[in-house]
């Protein structure tokens, strides 16, 4: 007869092997997910980083009042509507004399961004005494030049396969030799709204739009969600059929595809209430619908986790149910409630689908000033840019994704910090 010790010993090796196998499964699962995450992040940042730089071209501009068509009038109005395009084009011609043919002339004009004339206009309006002088100015380069400068166009390709032809490359080489090309930090990306020209396109409009939308979402979903959770958890009768039905429906709503909320918003808010489309207000309303279940469920979990002894203590001292709830239970549950809310907001910040339904996908170049101005949001901006064929938009898509991810990380950090802070206070 084998003793028990021996029996156990015989099995021991097998047991340890099993444990080791399980650990290896777990580790490899983590390794695979980290690899995927890293490849995603590396891909996005290598594509997106160039977008934080922008090529500028230096041109000597002869601000000729005749070319400007000023007719001796120097009022602000006259300066505003003067012909700056001609001045810019003339300056380019002076820089590269002997360019012939329509195609080449057009290519020459397209070395610099269309925004050059507006930049010159603002410069002249602010400094009227530069008229009839020669100024050395830096302008935004066109996206093709910019992409070339960042190594996005391969010189060794046959000419017909390149966006830039040989004669254009020759111009660029001359500009480089004369130190007239420079890469600078792309401040426009953060200070401009959307544009059809990639070199002028920025995310400010989308960021402000996202901010306003989040503001609306937060001011609606936090009070509504938390009050609903408090009522359901603390005051609603238990084992009541209506309460059960509400509870099941809230749980189901959390799993509803977000585009359905967009359709609902389209039908109810736009169709029935007649709220204008494309504005942060309607975006916020739709995202409120979407985040409410998340906030309610996490707030209820946080309230449920508050030890019943705290409730008893307060009730035993003669606090009413409302006093017990608001003096003790809600403060104790606050870290959990806030974490849930911030996670819900982060989810809303990254949401695209429902906003497509309510017109926030429109091309909007202006930066919104209020919740009633047409605007778009960051994820929709990313979606719009990802649709554009220009190489420069590709890198801007990735850059905008980086900004969005950065914001999400900040929000999640905020959730962690707030929870820590509240927990310390207790």
């Amino acid at each position: 007869m084998i003793s028990n010790t021996k029996k156990i010993k015989n099995k021991l090796a097998k047991r340890y092997a099993k444990e080791k196998r399980f650990q290896i499964y777990g580790l490899s699962a983590i390794a695979i997910s980290i690899a995927f995450l890293l490849s995603l992040l590396i891909n996005i940042s290598t594509t997106g980083f160039p977008a934080f730089q922008q090529t500028y071209i230096n041109i000597d501009v002869d601000i000729d009042s005749k070319l400007l068509n000023l007719d001796g009038k120097y009022s602000e109005k006259a300066l505003f509507s003067a012909n700056y395009r001609k001045v810019v084009n003339q300056s380019l011609k002076t820089l590269f004399p002997g360019v012939n043919g329509r195609k080449q002339k057009k290519a020459l004009r397209q070395l610099i961004s269309k925004s050059a004339r507006y930049q010159l206009r603002d410069f002249v309006i602010n400094n009227p005494d530069v008229i009839d002088t020669k100024q050395s100015l830096w302008f935004l380069a066109r996206d093709d030049v910019d992409v070339f400068m960042k190594g996005g166009i391969d010189r060794s390709l046959p000419e017909s396969d390149r966006r830039l032809k040989n004669f254009q490359l020759a111009w660029i080489d001359r500009l480089l030799a004369e130190n007239r090309l420079e890469k600078r930090f792309n401040i426009n990306f953060f200070t401009q709204g959307d544009s059809r020209e990639p070199e002028q396109a920025g995310i400010k409009g989308a960021m402000i739009g996202s901010f306003l939308t989040m503001l609306v979402t937060m001011f609606l979903s936090f009070p509504i969600g938390v009050s609903a959770a408090i009522y359901l958890e603390e005051f609603a009768p238990k084992n009541n059929r209506w309460v059960d039905i509400i509870e099941i429906n809230i749980n189901n709503l959390a799993a509803v595809p977000s585009i359905v909320f967009g359709l609902l918003g389209l039908a109810v808010f736009i169709g029935f209430f007649g709220i204008p489309r494309s504005i942060p207000l309607i975006g916020g309303l739709v995202l409120t619908l979407m985040t409410l279940p998340t906030i309610i469920i996490s707030s209820r979990a946080a309230l449920k986790a508050v030890s019943p002894s705290i409730r008893e203590a307060a009730l035993g001292l003669g606090a009413s149910r409302v006093q017990t709830t608001f003096h003790h239970v809600v403060p104790a549950a606050m870290p959990g409630i806030l974490t849930g809310t911030i996670i819900g907001m982060a989810q809303a910040l990254g949401e695209t689908a429902p906003l497509l339904m309510i017109g926030m996908v429109a091309f909007i170049a202006d930066v919104p000033q209020s919740i009633a101005d047409p605007s778009t949001v960051l994820p929709v901006q990313i979606y719009l840019w990802s649709d554009s064929p220009e190489r420069a938009f590709t890198e801007r898509t990735s850059a905008a994704i980086m900004v969005l991810l950065g914001l999400l990380i900040v929000m999640n950090l905020l959730a962690v910090i707030m929870r820590r802070k509240f927990e310390k206070k207790r």
Binding site: I310, R311, A313, A314, L315, G316, L317, G318, A319
Partner: protein, 275 residues
């Protein structure tokens, strides 16, 4: 062994509470109290009087209904869904379950200390001041400070915490926390204090401190205590009630219950043969 004996216990009839359940000039008096949790009856026909400025101890094995009975006295059972109470519970000859009775007011008159020390996650000062603030008992900050100090002194905690009144109450030791809970309860100056196994989570030294405190407090307050420790019941209480499976088996002066119990079940319990 125990199981066999336990089965024998069921055969012993419990007709009527024996001993001296009724006294003159009672603070609390309960008549024909039945308590149900849903379908399940937890207390059968309880009739007890609780005397003024006395300590009454309620003993019995787990699940015998003594805590349930205690929680009827300040209507803490109201918060439990499906809990129904019938019968007559009078505080100073006033029905506490009548419609006009406000449970908030009742709980200000009948304070409670729980089994597990449960200070609020606030400062020691705020813990004690909470009830007074709630009921508007102090009209100024100075008055409130005095009240907090007085309550902590009476709970025998002031010396230990006087330099750390603004530290969280949860940072104290278990025994200190329980005394903080007592200070919190006496700060609103109730007439009756209910204690539900107040020392079961504490070590013997902390227990002794609290027991002394209870005896001291009984000069001013009526105290009802639920305990698992028969020594504790014998040490602190003037009267003792023995509960068994939802019935009040025997109520009498503590020394009689422990030296000369009338009922067989009581004798079995206090001699350790059962429970």
């Amino acid at each position: 062994m125990i199981n066999i004996e336990k089965r024998e216990e069921f055969d012993i009839e419990i007709d009527k509470t024996v001993g001296k359940p009724f006294i003159n000039d009672a603070k609390f008096s309960t008549r024909n109290v039945d308590v149900f949790y849903g379908e399940k009856q937890a207390i059968f026909d309880a009739n007890i009087d609780i005397g003024k400025n006395q300590i009454i101890a309620m003993i019995g094995s787990s699940g015998c209904g003594k805590s349930t009975f205690l929680r009827c006295l300040n209507r803490m059972n109201d918060t439990i869904q499906d809990c129904h109470i019938s019968g007559d519970i009078r505080l100073d000859d006033e029905d506490i379950y009548q419609k006009q009775q406000d449970p908030v007011l009742l709980r200000a008159r009948v304070g409670m200390v729980f089994q597990k020390p449960n200070p609020f996650p606030k400062s020691i000062y705020d813990n004690v001041a909470y009830g007074a603030k709630l009921h508007g008992l102090a009209s100024s900050k100075i008055e409130l400070d005095e009240l907090v100090e007085k309550s902590l002194i009476r709970a025998g905690l002031f010396k230990e915490v006087k330099d750390s009144l603004h530290k969280p109450g949860t940072s104290l030791s278990g025994g200190q926390q329980q005394r903080l809970c007592i200070a919190r309860t006496i700060a609103i100056d109730p007439e009756v204090i209910l204690m539900d196994e107040p020392t079961s989570a504490l070590d013997p030294i902390a227990t002794a401190v609290i027991e002394e405190l209870m005896i001291d407090l009984s000069k001013k307050y009526t105290i009802a205590i639920v305990t698992h420790s028969m020594q504790q019941a014998a040490r602190v209480s003037q009267r003792t009630a023995y509960f068994h499976l939802g019935y009040v088996v025997e109520v009498n002066d503590t020394n009689i219950v422990f030296t000369n119990p009338e009922h067989q079940l009581t004798e079995n319990y206090i001699t350790g043969r059962f429970g």
